[in-house]
Protein backbone atom coordinates (compact mmCIF):
# COMPACT_ATOMS: atom_id res chain seq x y z
CA UNK A 1 0.00 0.00 0.00
CA UNK A 2 1.76 3.13 -1.18
CA UNK A 3 -1.17 5.53 -1.24
CA UNK A 4 -1.68 7.60 1.88
CA UNK A 5 -5.33 8.22 2.48
CA UNK A 6 -6.77 11.58 3.40
CA UNK A 7 -8.06 11.56 6.97
CA UNK A 8 -11.79 11.00 6.83
CA UNK A 9 -13.79 14.14 7.58
CA UNK A 10 -12.80 16.71 10.18
CA UNK A 11 -12.63 14.89 13.46
CA UNK A 12 -12.05 17.69 15.94
CA UNK A 13 -11.30 21.22 14.77
CA UNK A 14 -7.75 21.95 15.84
CA UNK A 15 -6.41 25.29 16.96
CA UNK A 16 -4.49 27.12 14.27
CA UNK A 17 -0.93 26.45 15.41
CA UNK A 18 1.09 29.02 13.48
CA UNK A 19 4.41 28.11 15.15
CA UNK A 20 3.96 24.49 14.14
CA UNK A 21 3.05 25.49 10.59
CA UNK A 22 6.11 27.72 10.27
CA UNK A 23 8.38 24.86 11.37
CA UNK A 24 7.23 23.00 8.26
CA UNK A 25 8.64 25.78 6.03
CA UNK A 26 12.41 26.04 6.68
CA UNK A 27 12.79 28.60 3.88
CA UNK A 28 10.99 31.13 6.11
CA UNK A 29 14.06 31.16 8.38
CA UNK A 30 16.50 32.28 5.71
CA UNK A 31 17.93 35.75 5.17
CA UNK A 32 17.81 37.78 1.96
CA UNK A 33 20.83 39.25 0.16
CA UNK A 34 20.98 42.30 2.44
CA UNK A 35 21.18 40.11 5.53
CA UNK A 36 17.65 40.90 6.69
CA UNK A 37 15.34 38.05 7.71
CA UNK A 38 12.96 36.96 4.97
CA UNK A 39 9.33 38.08 5.22
CA UNK A 40 7.67 36.28 2.33
CA UNK A 41 4.58 38.18 1.16
CA UNK A 42 4.49 37.18 -2.52
CA UNK A 43 2.18 34.22 -2.15
CA UNK A 44 -0.19 35.24 -4.93
CA UNK A 45 2.76 34.69 -7.29
CA UNK A 46 3.73 31.37 -5.74
CA UNK A 47 3.56 29.86 -2.28
CA UNK A 48 6.38 28.14 -0.42
CA UNK A 49 6.37 24.35 0.02
CA UNK A 50 6.36 22.52 3.36
CA UNK A 51 8.86 19.76 4.14
CA UNK A 52 6.04 17.23 3.73
CA UNK A 53 5.68 18.10 0.03
CA UNK A 54 9.43 18.17 -0.58
CA UNK A 55 9.76 14.79 1.19
CA UNK A 56 6.93 13.29 -0.86
CA UNK A 57 8.62 14.30 -4.13
CA UNK A 58 11.95 12.95 -2.92
CA UNK A 59 10.31 9.71 -1.77
CA UNK A 60 8.65 9.26 -5.16
CA UNK A 61 11.89 9.56 -7.11
CA UNK A 62 13.85 7.56 -4.55
CA UNK A 63 11.44 4.66 -4.05
CA UNK A 64 8.73 4.48 -6.71
CA UNK A 65 9.85 6.22 -9.91
CA UNK A 66 8.58 4.73 -13.17
CA UNK A 67 6.39 5.79 -16.06
CA UNK A 68 2.69 5.34 -15.52
CA UNK A 69 -0.21 3.56 -17.23
CA UNK A 70 1.96 1.31 -19.39
CA UNK A 71 3.97 -1.10 -17.32
CA UNK A 72 3.17 -4.38 -15.66
CA UNK A 73 6.20 -4.12 -13.43
CA UNK A 74 6.03 -3.23 -9.76
CA UNK A 75 7.40 0.30 -9.96
CA UNK A 76 5.09 1.28 -12.81
CA UNK A 77 2.10 0.00 -10.89
CA UNK A 78 3.17 1.88 -7.76
CA UNK A 79 3.76 5.09 -9.72
CA UNK A 80 0.39 4.73 -11.44
CA UNK A 81 -1.30 4.14 -8.10
CA UNK A 82 0.28 7.22 -6.58
CA UNK A 83 -0.53 9.42 -9.58
CA UNK A 84 -4.13 8.23 -9.86
CA UNK A 85 -4.51 8.50 -6.09
CA UNK A 86 -3.87 12.23 -6.32
CA UNK A 87 -6.66 12.48 -8.90
CA UNK A 88 -9.02 11.22 -6.22
CA UNK A 89 -7.46 13.48 -3.57
CA UNK A 90 -8.00 16.45 -5.89
CA UNK A 91 -11.59 15.41 -6.57
CA UNK A 92 -12.35 15.29 -2.88
CA UNK A 93 -10.61 18.64 -2.24
CA UNK A 94 -12.96 20.54 -4.59
CA UNK A 95 -15.91 18.15 -4.15
CA UNK A 96 -16.04 17.18 -7.82
CA UNK A 97 -18.46 14.36 -8.64
CA UNK A 98 -15.95 12.02 -10.29
CA UNK A 99 -12.17 11.54 -10.23
CA UNK A 100 -12.07 11.09 -14.03
CA UNK A 101 -13.21 14.72 -14.32
CA UNK A 102 -9.82 15.84 -12.93
CA UNK A 103 -7.36 16.56 -15.75
CA UNK A 104 -3.76 17.26 -14.76
CA UNK A 105 -2.11 20.05 -16.73
CA UNK A 106 1.07 22.09 -16.35
CA UNK A 107 -0.84 24.87 -14.60
CA UNK A 108 -3.85 27.16 -14.77
CA UNK A 109 -2.64 28.64 -18.05
CA UNK A 110 -2.58 25.27 -19.79
CA UNK A 111 -5.93 24.39 -18.24
CA UNK A 112 -7.58 27.52 -19.70
CA UNK A 113 -5.89 26.97 -23.05
CA UNK A 114 -7.10 23.37 -23.02
CA UNK A 115 -10.70 24.58 -22.75
CA UNK A 116 -10.07 27.22 -25.44
CA UNK A 117 -8.59 24.71 -27.90
CA UNK A 118 -10.47 21.54 -27.02
CA UNK A 119 -13.92 22.87 -26.21
CA UNK A 120 -14.50 26.48 -27.32
CA UNK A 121 -12.78 26.08 -30.67
CA UNK A 122 -14.96 23.07 -31.41
CA UNK A 123 -18.31 24.35 -30.23
CA UNK A 124 -18.33 28.15 -30.62
CA UNK A 125 -19.50 29.65 -33.91
CA UNK A 126 -18.80 33.05 -35.49
CA UNK A 127 -21.03 35.60 -33.73
CA UNK A 128 -21.08 33.68 -30.45
CA UNK A 129 -19.92 35.68 -27.45
CA UNK A 130 -17.45 35.03 -24.67
CA UNK A 131 -17.82 37.27 -21.62
CA UNK A 132 -14.86 37.82 -19.30
CA UNK A 133 -14.12 40.57 -16.77
CA UNK A 134 -11.59 43.37 -16.53
CA UNK A 135 -10.29 41.69 -13.37
CA UNK A 136 -8.91 38.67 -15.20
CA UNK A 137 -5.30 37.56 -15.18
CA UNK A 138 -3.78 37.63 -18.68
CA UNK A 139 -4.08 33.83 -18.79
CA UNK A 140 -7.88 34.19 -18.84
CA UNK A 141 -7.80 36.94 -21.49
CA UNK A 142 -5.18 36.10 -24.10
CA UNK A 143 -6.41 32.57 -24.99
CA UNK A 144 -9.86 34.05 -25.72
CA UNK A 145 -8.42 36.88 -27.81
CA UNK A 146 -6.49 34.30 -29.85
CA UNK A 147 -9.65 32.26 -30.36
CA UNK A 148 -11.66 35.40 -31.19
CA UNK A 149 -9.18 36.34 -33.93
CA UNK A 150 -9.15 32.80 -35.30
CA UNK A 151 -12.88 32.09 -35.13
CA UNK A 152 -14.67 35.42 -35.49
CA UNK A 153 -16.37 35.16 -32.12
CA UNK A 154 -17.00 38.19 -29.91
CA UNK A 155 -15.16 38.82 -26.65
CA UNK A 156 -16.66 41.21 -24.10
CA UNK A 157 -15.41 42.38 -20.73
CA UNK A 158 -17.50 43.26 -17.69
CA UNK A 159 -15.93 46.49 -16.39
CA UNK A 160 -14.41 46.99 -12.97
CA UNK A 161 -15.61 49.79 -10.69
CA UNK A 162 -13.20 52.19 -8.98
CA UNK A 163 -13.28 50.14 -5.75
CA UNK A 164 -12.07 47.04 -7.57
CA UNK A 165 -15.45 45.31 -7.59
CA UNK A 166 -17.32 44.23 -10.67
CA UNK A 167 -19.94 46.46 -12.34
CA UNK A 168 -22.90 44.11 -11.90
CA UNK A 169 -25.28 46.40 -13.81
CA UNK A 170 -22.97 46.05 -16.80
CA UNK A 171 -22.75 42.30 -16.16
CA UNK A 172 -26.54 41.99 -16.50
CA UNK A 173 -26.34 43.92 -19.80
CA UNK A 174 -23.39 42.02 -21.23
CA UNK A 175 -24.45 38.47 -20.40
CA UNK A 176 -27.19 37.62 -22.87
CA UNK A 177 -28.57 35.08 -25.31
CA UNK A 178 -25.43 35.20 -27.48
CA UNK A 179 -23.19 34.42 -24.50
CA UNK A 180 -21.81 30.91 -24.91
CA UNK A 181 -19.04 31.12 -22.34
CA UNK A 182 -18.52 33.11 -19.16
CA UNK A 183 -14.79 33.05 -18.35
CA UNK A 184 -14.38 34.53 -14.92
CA UNK A 185 -11.90 34.60 -12.08
CA UNK A 186 -13.03 33.57 -8.61
CA UNK A 187 -10.58 36.02 -7.10
CA UNK A 188 -8.47 38.78 -8.66
CA UNK A 189 -4.74 38.15 -8.36
CA UNK A 190 -4.00 41.88 -8.67
CA UNK A 191 -6.44 43.29 -6.09
CA UNK A 192 -7.72 40.28 -4.17
CA UNK A 193 -11.34 41.04 -5.10
CA UNK A 194 -13.56 38.00 -4.59
CA UNK A 195 -15.91 37.96 -7.57
CA UNK A 196 -19.62 37.38 -6.93
CA UNK A 197 -19.91 33.98 -8.63
CA UNK A 198 -23.21 33.40 -6.82
CA UNK A 199 -24.66 36.28 -8.88
CA UNK A 200 -22.68 35.84 -12.11
CA UNK A 201 -23.20 32.11 -12.61
CA UNK A 202 -27.03 32.24 -12.56
CA UNK A 203 -26.91 35.09 -15.13
CA UNK A 204 -24.87 32.90 -17.45
CA UNK A 205 -26.88 29.75 -16.76
CA UNK A 206 -30.14 31.59 -17.48
CA UNK A 207 -28.88 31.95 -21.06
CA UNK A 208 -27.53 28.41 -21.25
CA UNK A 209 -23.91 29.57 -21.23
CA UNK A 210 -21.01 27.44 -20.06
CA UNK A 211 -19.00 28.84 -17.13
CA UNK A 212 -15.23 28.53 -16.72
CA UNK A 213 -13.75 29.72 -13.43
CA UNK A 214 -10.10 30.69 -13.09
CA UNK A 215 -9.70 29.60 -9.49
CA UNK A 216 -5.90 29.91 -9.32
CA UNK A 217 -6.24 32.40 -6.45
CA UNK A 218 -9.32 30.87 -4.84
CA UNK A 219 -8.73 27.12 -4.43
CA UNK A 220 -5.51 27.71 -2.42
CA UNK A 221 -7.14 30.15 -0.01
CA UNK A 222 -10.78 29.25 0.67
CA UNK A 223 -13.14 26.28 0.57
CA UNK A 224 -14.25 25.67 -3.03
CA UNK A 225 -17.04 23.25 -3.89
CA UNK A 226 -17.39 23.01 -7.67
CA UNK A 227 -20.83 21.44 -7.42
CA UNK A 228 -22.15 24.14 -5.12
CA UNK A 229 -20.76 26.79 -7.50
CA UNK A 230 -22.78 25.13 -10.31
CA UNK A 231 -20.05 25.86 -12.86
CA UNK A 232 -18.66 23.77 -15.73
CA UNK A 233 -14.88 24.20 -15.75
CA UNK A 234 -12.53 25.15 -12.91
CA UNK A 235 -8.79 25.75 -13.40
CA UNK A 236 -6.08 26.09 -10.75
CA UNK A 237 -2.36 25.59 -10.10
CA UNK A 238 -0.48 23.45 -7.58
CA UNK A 239 2.35 25.91 -7.01
CA UNK A 240 0.10 28.53 -5.43
CA UNK A 241 -1.10 25.98 -2.86
CA UNK A 242 2.08 24.42 -1.42
CA UNK A 243 2.63 22.10 -4.39
CA UNK A 244 5.36 22.05 -7.02
CA UNK A 245 5.50 24.20 -10.14
CA UNK A 246 4.50 22.55 -13.39
CA UNK A 247 1.28 20.99 -12.10
CA UNK A 248 -2.20 22.33 -12.62
CA UNK A 249 -5.75 21.06 -12.67
CA UNK A 250 -8.64 21.39 -15.04
CA UNK A 251 -11.86 20.11 -13.57
CA UNK A 252 -14.75 19.87 -16.04
CA UNK A 253 -18.13 18.21 -16.14
CA UNK A 254 -17.66 14.76 -17.64
CA UNK A 255 -19.96 15.31 -20.61
CA UNK A 256 -18.04 18.47 -21.57
CA UNK A 257 -14.63 16.84 -21.23
CA UNK A 258 -15.92 13.81 -23.13
CA UNK A 259 -17.11 15.99 -26.00
CA UNK A 260 -13.83 17.91 -26.20
CA UNK A 261 -11.18 17.38 -28.81
CA UNK A 262 -7.70 16.61 -27.54
CA UNK A 263 -5.41 19.62 -27.33
CA UNK A 264 -2.23 17.64 -27.94
CA UNK A 265 -1.75 14.33 -29.67
CA UNK A 266 0.78 11.75 -28.56
CA UNK A 267 1.34 8.89 -26.19
CA UNK A 268 -1.08 7.93 -23.43
CA UNK A 269 -4.04 9.70 -25.05
CA UNK A 270 -4.88 7.13 -27.71
CA UNK A 271 -6.83 3.91 -27.90
CA UNK A 272 -5.45 2.71 -31.24
CA UNK A 273 -3.03 4.17 -33.74
CA UNK A 274 -2.49 3.09 -37.31
CA UNK A 275 -0.54 5.08 -39.85
CA UNK A 276 -3.88 6.26 -41.23
CA UNK A 277 -5.73 7.31 -38.11
CA UNK A 278 -6.04 7.13 -34.36
CA UNK A 279 -8.84 6.82 -31.89
CA UNK A 280 -8.82 8.60 -28.57
CA UNK A 281 -8.60 7.13 -25.14
CA UNK A 282 -11.26 7.89 -22.55
CA UNK A 283 -11.29 11.06 -20.42
CA UNK A 284 -9.03 12.06 -18.71
CA UNK A 285 -6.25 10.18 -20.56
CA UNK A 286 -7.46 11.71 -23.84
CA UNK A 287 -6.53 15.14 -22.50
CA UNK A 288 -3.20 14.19 -20.89
CA UNK A 289 -0.96 13.42 -23.85
CA UNK A 290 2.61 12.39 -23.14
CA UNK A 291 4.31 11.53 -19.88
CA UNK A 292 2.86 13.92 -17.30
CA UNK A 293 4.68 15.55 -14.38
CA UNK A 294 4.29 12.40 -12.30
CA UNK A 295 6.59 13.38 -9.44
CA UNK A 296 4.98 16.84 -9.35
CA UNK A 297 1.47 15.43 -9.18
CA UNK A 298 2.50 13.06 -6.37
CA UNK A 299 3.99 16.03 -4.48
CA UNK A 300 0.77 17.96 -5.09
CA UNK A 301 -1.05 15.16 -3.30
CA UNK A 302 0.97 15.90 -0.16
CA UNK A 303 0.10 19.60 -0.52
CA UNK A 304 -3.61 18.80 -0.72
CA UNK A 305 -3.38 16.59 2.36
CA UNK A 306 -1.54 19.33 4.24
CA UNK A 307 -4.22 21.91 3.45
CA UNK A 308 -6.99 19.43 4.15
CA UNK A 309 -5.57 18.74 7.60
CA UNK A 310 -5.39 22.47 8.33
CA UNK A 311 -8.93 22.90 7.05
CA UNK A 312 -9.70 25.43 4.34
CA UNK A 313 -12.12 27.27 6.64
CA UNK A 314 -9.22 27.85 9.03
CA UNK A 315 -6.96 28.94 6.17
CA UNK A 316 -9.54 31.48 5.06
CA UNK A 317 -10.08 32.73 8.63
CA UNK A 318 -6.35 33.15 9.18
CA UNK A 319 -5.87 35.12 5.95
CA UNK A 320 -8.91 37.24 6.69
CA UNK A 321 -7.39 38.23 10.03
CA UNK A 322 -4.08 39.18 8.37
CA UNK A 323 -5.84 41.09 5.60
CA UNK A 324 -8.00 43.02 8.02
CA UNK A 325 -4.92 43.88 10.09
CA UNK A 326 -2.87 44.87 7.01
CA UNK A 327 -5.65 47.08 5.60
CA UNK A 328 -5.89 48.94 8.90
CA UNK A 329 -2.16 49.31 9.54
CA UNK A 330 -1.06 50.10 5.99
CA UNK A 331 -4.01 52.43 5.53
CA UNK A 332 -2.65 54.54 8.39
CA UNK A 333 0.70 55.18 6.66
CA UNK A 334 0.73 58.70 5.16
CA UNK A 335 0.86 58.66 1.36
CA UNK A 336 -0.34 55.06 1.02
CA UNK A 337 -3.27 54.33 -1.30
CA UNK A 338 -4.83 50.87 -1.05
CA UNK A 339 -6.66 49.48 -4.08
CA UNK A 340 -9.54 47.04 -4.09
CA UNK A 341 -12.58 46.50 -1.87
CA UNK A 342 -12.64 48.28 1.50
CA UNK A 343 -14.03 45.28 3.35
CA UNK A 344 -11.55 42.52 4.09
CA UNK A 345 -14.44 40.04 3.71
CA UNK A 346 -14.71 40.98 0.03
CA UNK A 347 -11.12 40.07 -0.73
CA UNK A 348 -8.67 37.24 -0.43
CA UNK A 349 -5.33 37.73 1.30
CA UNK A 350 -4.07 40.33 -1.14
CA UNK A 351 -3.30 44.00 -0.46
CA UNK A 352 -2.36 46.04 -3.53
CA UNK A 353 -1.10 49.53 -2.78
CA UNK A 354 0.93 52.52 -3.90
CA UNK A 355 2.99 55.13 -2.08
CA UNK A 356 2.73 58.73 -3.18
CA UNK A 357 5.58 59.82 -5.48
CA UNK A 358 7.36 56.47 -5.18
CA UNK A 359 7.22 54.02 -8.08
CA UNK A 360 6.19 50.46 -7.07
CA UNK A 361 9.51 49.09 -8.32
CA UNK A 362 11.33 51.38 -5.93
CA UNK A 363 9.03 50.21 -3.12
CA UNK A 364 9.79 46.60 -4.03
CA UNK A 365 13.53 47.30 -4.09
CA UNK A 366 13.65 49.01 -0.68
CA UNK A 367 11.34 46.40 0.84
CA UNK A 368 13.64 43.64 -0.40
CA UNK A 369 16.51 45.32 1.43
CA UNK A 370 14.37 45.00 4.57
CA UNK A 371 13.73 41.33 3.80
CA UNK A 372 10.13 41.89 2.73
CA UNK A 373 9.34 40.09 -0.53
CA UNK A 374 6.40 41.59 -2.40
CA UNK A 375 5.49 41.89 -6.08
CA UNK A 376 5.71 45.21 -7.90
CA UNK A 377 4.30 45.59 -11.37
CA UNK A 378 1.11 45.03 -13.30
CA UNK A 379 0.62 41.51 -11.91
CA UNK A 380 -0.19 40.12 -15.38
CA UNK A 381 -3.45 42.06 -15.13
CA UNK A 382 -2.91 45.16 -17.26
CA UNK A 383 -6.65 45.83 -17.74
CA UNK A 384 -6.91 46.21 -13.94
CA UNK A 385 -4.04 48.72 -13.95
CA UNK A 386 -5.70 50.59 -16.84
CA UNK A 387 -9.01 50.75 -14.95
CA UNK A 388 -7.20 52.12 -11.87
CA UNK A 389 -5.20 54.49 -14.12
CA UNK A 390 -1.91 53.42 -12.54
CA UNK A 391 1.09 51.89 -14.35
CA UNK A 392 1.72 49.39 -11.57
CA UNK A 393 1.09 48.66 -7.91
CA UNK A 394 2.95 47.05 -5.05
CA UNK A 395 1.23 43.89 -3.82
CA UNK A 396 1.56 42.01 -0.56
CA UNK A 397 -0.16 38.62 -0.45
CA UNK A 398 -0.54 36.28 2.49
CA UNK A 399 -0.72 32.58 3.15
CA UNK A 400 -1.06 30.05 5.93
CA UNK A 401 2.35 30.74 7.50
CA UNK A 402 2.29 34.56 7.60
CA UNK A 403 1.88 36.42 10.87
CA UNK A 404 0.77 39.81 12.17
CA UNK A 405 4.44 40.44 13.04
CA UNK A 406 5.23 40.08 9.35
CA UNK A 407 2.53 42.60 8.50
CA UNK A 408 4.26 44.92 10.99
CA UNK A 409 7.54 44.35 9.12
CA UNK A 410 5.79 45.27 5.87
CA UNK A 411 4.41 48.47 7.38
CA UNK A 412 7.80 49.42 8.88
CA UNK A 413 9.50 48.86 5.54
CA UNK A 414 6.92 50.96 3.70
CA UNK A 415 7.44 53.73 6.27
CA UNK A 416 11.20 53.48 5.73
CA UNK A 417 10.66 53.75 1.98
CA UNK A 418 8.56 56.84 2.52
CA UNK A 419 11.27 58.43 4.69
CA UNK A 420 13.97 57.56 2.18
CA UNK A 421 12.15 59.15 -0.74
CA UNK A 422 11.19 62.13 1.36
CA UNK A 423 7.48 61.59 1.00
CA UNK A 424 6.61 60.80 4.60
Amino acid sequence: MVQQAIPEGQATPRAYDIAKIRRDFPILNRDVASGAKLVYLDNAATSQRPVQVIAEITRFYRDHNANIHRGVHTLSQEATGLYEGVRETTRAFINAPEAREIVFTSGTTEAVNLVAHGWARKFLQPGDEIVATELEHHSNIVPWQMLRDERGIELKFIPMLADGTLDMDAARELIGPKTKLLAVSAMSNALGTILPLEELVPLAKAHGATVLVDAAQAVPHMPIDVQALDVDFVAFSAHKMLGPTGVGVLWGRFELLDAMDPFMGGGDMILTVTTEESTWAEVPAKLEAGTPNIGGVVGFGAALRYLDELGMDQVRAHELDLTRYALARLGDVPGVTIYGPDNAEDRGGVVSFSLEDVHPHDIGQVLDDQGVAIRAGHHCAQPVMAALEVPATARASFYIYNTRDEVDSLVSAVEATSRMFGTG
Binding site: D369, Q370, G377, H378, C380, P391, M420
Partner: protein
Protein backbone atom coordinates in the same frame (compact mmCIF):
# COMPACT_ATOMS: atom_id res chain seq x y z
CA UNK B 1 6.90 46.47 15.97
CA UNK B 2 9.75 44.85 14.13
CA UNK B 3 13.08 46.54 13.82
CA UNK B 4 13.63 48.48 10.64
CA UNK B 5 17.05 48.26 9.06
CA UNK B 6 18.64 51.67 8.99
CA UNK B 7 18.44 52.86 5.41
CA UNK B 8 19.98 56.22 6.07
CA UNK B 9 23.32 54.93 7.38
CA UNK B 10 26.21 54.67 4.92
CA UNK B 11 27.72 51.66 3.27
CA UNK B 12 24.71 49.50 2.40
CA UNK B 13 23.77 48.25 -1.05
CA UNK B 14 20.66 50.42 -0.82
CA UNK B 15 22.83 53.49 -0.35
CA UNK B 16 24.83 52.53 -3.43
CA UNK B 17 21.64 52.24 -5.44
CA UNK B 18 19.71 55.22 -4.13
CA UNK B 19 22.42 57.88 -3.78
CA UNK B 20 21.12 61.21 -2.57
CA UNK B 21 22.07 62.77 -5.93
CA UNK B 22 19.84 60.25 -7.68
CA UNK B 23 16.87 60.94 -5.40
CA UNK B 24 17.46 64.66 -5.89
CA UNK B 25 17.29 64.29 -9.71
CA UNK B 26 14.15 62.15 -9.28
CA UNK B 27 12.45 64.79 -7.10
CA UNK B 28 13.65 67.76 -9.20
CA UNK B 29 14.30 66.53 -12.72
CA UNK B 30 16.32 68.74 -15.12
CA UNK B 31 15.11 69.38 -18.66
CA UNK B 32 11.78 67.74 -18.07
CA UNK B 33 8.98 68.71 -20.45
CA UNK B 34 8.51 69.21 -24.16
CA UNK B 35 10.06 71.41 -26.83
CA UNK B 36 8.07 73.73 -29.13
CA UNK B 37 10.01 72.86 -32.24
CA UNK B 38 11.91 69.59 -31.86
CA UNK B 39 13.82 68.35 -34.89
CA UNK B 40 13.73 64.74 -33.77
CA UNK B 41 12.34 62.60 -31.03
CA UNK B 42 12.08 59.02 -29.82
CA UNK B 43 10.05 56.89 -27.41
CA UNK B 44 11.52 54.27 -25.15
CA UNK B 45 9.84 51.74 -22.89
CA UNK B 46 10.86 49.07 -20.47
CA UNK B 47 7.90 46.67 -20.59
CA UNK B 48 9.09 44.73 -17.56
CA UNK B 49 8.78 47.73 -15.24
CA UNK B 50 6.47 49.99 -17.22
CA UNK B 51 9.12 52.73 -17.46
CA UNK B 52 8.38 55.12 -20.33
CA UNK B 53 10.54 57.90 -21.74
CA UNK B 54 9.91 60.39 -24.54
CA UNK B 55 12.89 62.45 -25.66
CA UNK B 56 12.80 65.48 -27.96
CA UNK B 57 15.87 67.15 -29.47
CA UNK B 58 16.75 70.26 -31.40
CA UNK B 59 19.74 69.40 -33.58
CA UNK B 60 21.68 72.15 -35.34
CA UNK B 61 23.98 70.26 -37.65
CA UNK B 62 25.64 67.85 -35.26
CA UNK B 63 25.05 69.91 -32.15
CA UNK B 64 22.34 69.07 -29.61
CA UNK B 65 21.13 72.62 -29.01
CA UNK B 66 18.35 71.59 -26.65
CA UNK B 67 16.62 68.45 -25.42
CA UNK B 68 13.84 67.56 -23.05
CA UNK B 69 12.40 64.33 -21.68
CA UNK B 70 9.01 63.30 -20.40
CA UNK B 71 7.55 60.04 -19.18
CA UNK B 72 7.03 58.06 -16.05
CA UNK B 73 8.73 55.25 -14.25
CA UNK B 74 10.87 54.31 -11.30
CA UNK B 75 13.33 56.70 -9.68
CA UNK B 76 16.30 55.10 -11.45
CA UNK B 77 14.83 55.50 -14.93
CA UNK B 78 13.69 59.08 -14.36
CA UNK B 79 16.84 60.25 -12.55
CA UNK B 80 19.02 58.70 -15.26
CA UNK B 81 17.06 60.61 -17.93
CA UNK B 82 17.51 63.87 -16.04
CA UNK B 83 21.26 63.25 -15.64
CA UNK B 84 21.61 62.23 -19.28
CA UNK B 85 20.11 65.51 -20.53
CA UNK B 86 22.70 67.44 -18.53
CA UNK B 87 25.49 65.36 -20.02
CA UNK B 88 24.64 65.84 -23.68
CA UNK B 89 22.95 69.24 -23.88
CA UNK B 90 25.16 71.64 -25.89
CA UNK B 91 27.39 68.81 -27.14
CA UNK B 92 27.65 67.15 -30.53
CA UNK B 93 26.54 63.70 -31.64
CA UNK B 94 29.97 62.15 -31.24
CA UNK B 95 30.16 63.32 -27.65
CA UNK B 96 26.67 62.00 -26.97
CA UNK B 97 27.53 58.61 -28.46
CA UNK B 98 30.77 58.46 -26.48
CA UNK B 99 28.85 59.33 -23.30
CA UNK B 100 26.26 56.65 -24.06
CA UNK B 101 29.02 54.07 -24.63
CA UNK B 102 30.67 55.13 -21.36
CA UNK B 103 27.35 54.77 -19.56
CA UNK B 104 26.82 51.24 -20.88
CA UNK B 105 30.33 50.43 -19.68
CA UNK B 106 29.48 51.87 -16.26
CA UNK B 107 26.45 49.56 -16.09
CA UNK B 108 28.65 46.57 -16.94
CA UNK B 109 31.53 47.25 -14.57
CA UNK B 110 30.10 49.45 -11.84
CA UNK B 111 33.22 51.59 -12.16
CA UNK B 112 33.49 54.99 -13.88
CA UNK B 113 35.96 55.01 -16.79
CA UNK B 114 38.04 57.77 -18.44
CA UNK B 115 35.01 59.56 -19.81
CA UNK B 116 33.55 62.05 -17.31
CA UNK B 117 29.84 61.27 -16.98
CA UNK B 118 29.18 63.83 -14.26
CA UNK B 119 26.19 63.02 -12.04
CA UNK B 120 25.45 59.92 -14.12
CA UNK B 121 28.44 58.27 -12.47
CA UNK B 122 26.34 58.21 -9.28
CA UNK B 123 24.36 55.42 -11.00
CA UNK B 124 27.37 53.08 -10.75
CA UNK B 125 25.65 51.21 -7.88
CA UNK B 126 22.91 50.08 -10.28
CA UNK B 127 25.40 47.62 -11.80
CA UNK B 128 24.93 45.44 -8.70
CA UNK B 129 21.19 45.19 -9.44
CA UNK B 130 20.90 43.54 -12.88
CA UNK B 131 17.11 43.97 -12.90
CA UNK B 132 17.55 47.75 -12.63
CA UNK B 133 20.25 48.20 -15.31
CA UNK B 134 17.47 48.32 -17.89
CA UNK B 135 15.80 51.16 -15.97
CA UNK B 136 19.01 53.19 -15.90
CA UNK B 137 19.87 52.51 -19.54
CA UNK B 138 16.49 53.44 -20.99
CA UNK B 139 17.15 57.17 -21.39
CA UNK B 140 20.49 56.58 -23.12
CA UNK B 141 19.05 53.99 -25.52
CA UNK B 142 16.21 56.36 -26.33
CA UNK B 143 18.67 59.22 -26.91
CA UNK B 144 20.61 57.07 -29.38
CA UNK B 145 17.37 56.32 -31.18
CA UNK B 146 16.41 60.01 -31.35
CA UNK B 147 19.82 60.83 -32.81
CA UNK B 148 19.11 58.52 -35.72
CA UNK B 149 16.96 61.31 -37.12
CA UNK B 150 15.39 59.16 -39.79
CA UNK B 151 14.13 56.70 -37.22
CA UNK B 152 10.96 56.98 -35.20
CA UNK B 153 10.94 53.34 -34.09
CA UNK B 154 10.26 52.93 -30.37
CA UNK B 155 13.06 51.29 -28.41
CA UNK B 156 13.02 48.95 -25.49
CA UNK B 157 15.68 48.02 -22.99
CA UNK B 158 14.08 44.66 -22.60
CA UNK B 159 14.43 42.02 -25.27
CA UNK B 160 11.09 40.58 -24.21
CA UNK B 161 7.96 42.30 -25.41
CA UNK B 162 5.78 41.72 -22.40
CA UNK B 163 5.89 40.98 -18.72
CA UNK B 164 5.62 37.32 -17.93
CA UNK B 165 2.19 35.95 -17.22
Amino acid sequence: MTATRDLESGGSLMDDLYREVILEHYRSPRNRGELDTPTCSADGANPLCGDQIHIELILDGDEIVDLKFSGEGCSISQASASMMTEQVRGHDRDHAQAASDAFQQLMLTGEPGEFDLGDSEMLAGVAKFPARVKCASLAWKTLEQALKTDSTEPVTTDERTADHG
